[in-house]
Symmetry: C2
Subunit: 193 residues, 2 copies
């Protein structure tokens, strides 16, 4: 998605070979017009996948999931990293290890909002080692629903997350694919669509 | 806002005199069409307030802030409850006490995304004791910006948050105002607009 790649080039910062800072438009400040375009792009790519519902993870998945859900006219649910006072019953849970934070979070979702047999689109802001995306697919499948696709805003293609998802047979659509990060330099995977 | 009150009546659950469960459309599953209407309503109510930017708090503030920002064609920023790997420099911070969780969270925002003199609309999903909303106004003012209004999706009007905000001179717009909760029963404040 050219508009997103341009934004990453203009406002993203490669802090190291592994860390891309995009807090200017994705995970702290959010550009709503870009996010609307992201929602339209996901809706377009999964138009024929028969999606009933979107599942994402708080917090940075919420804005892209919101715009995709609006475009597809279906509800979305955001999995929680911490249990809330009013979210305690009848949960599906998965453990997600964060390599960057070196800690495990238990993520959870209420069964009330993912029905058996539904076709679910999983959306997240970043794909690196695949831990979060795999945790989300695990929640969906534990609830008896079907993962009908995985939509990622920014994929770090030099890390193994994409391959892990493809090995499990999921359709993976990443709107920007980073081939390489070097301090101050960002290269994209050339994609012929 | 009648559409929101109807939704709360139909799908909200009063779990006790203090706890309203709205995870069917606001803070776990999200109804994107309702959220778009919420964004339009906030945009309408603050149309003449000269807003430059929206500030909200992760996670449940993100969807309403997203839709309001899109409608007003301005960026939004979500304050973090935990520091991220890429959000560590040049922060403004505030401590927010949660009565329900009985713990204090330090919330933070990068100064890069709230400029001195800007007029900021603070948005949050719930207003009860006012701790979160006051913490957000503190972040905005610590950054040298002006709180030009506070927009709340659901206000528990029997708790002191609204009065604390009004005492500080802020324009407070709550789209649904709960007068009273009893197990199984939800009453609204009658508002003549």
């Amino acid at each position: 998605m050219k508009q997103l790649e341009d934004k990453i080039r203009d406002e993203g910062q490669a802090l190291s070979e592994h860390v891309l800072k995009v807090d200017a438009f994705l995970n702290h400040q959010v550009d709503p017009v870009l996010m609307q375009a992201i929602g339209r792009e996901f809706a377009d790519r999964f138009r024929d996948a028969g999606i009933d519902r979107i599942v994402t993870l708080e917090s940075s998945g919420i804005a892209p999931a919101m715009m995709t859900a609006l475009e597809m006219n279906i509800p979305f649910v955001f999995a929680r990293k911490r249990k809330s006072l009013t979210l305690q019953d009848d949960l599906v849970e998965a453990d997600v290890y964060s390599f960057t934070k070196q800690e495990t979070n238990r993520i959870s979702l209420s069964r009330r909002f993912v029905q058996p047999g539904e076709r679910v689109l999983v959306i997240d802001d970043f794909l690196a080692n695949g831990e979060a995306a795999l945790g989300l697919t695990q929640l969906v499948e534990s609830a008896g629903a079907v993962v009908a696709g995985v939509g990622i805003v920014i994929e770090k293609s030099f890390q193994p997350g994409r391959d892990k998802l493809l090995e499990r047979g999921y359709q993976v659509e990443s709107l920007a694919r980073i081939a390489k990060l070097e301090a101050g330099e960002i290269s994209f995977v050339e994609v012929v669509r």
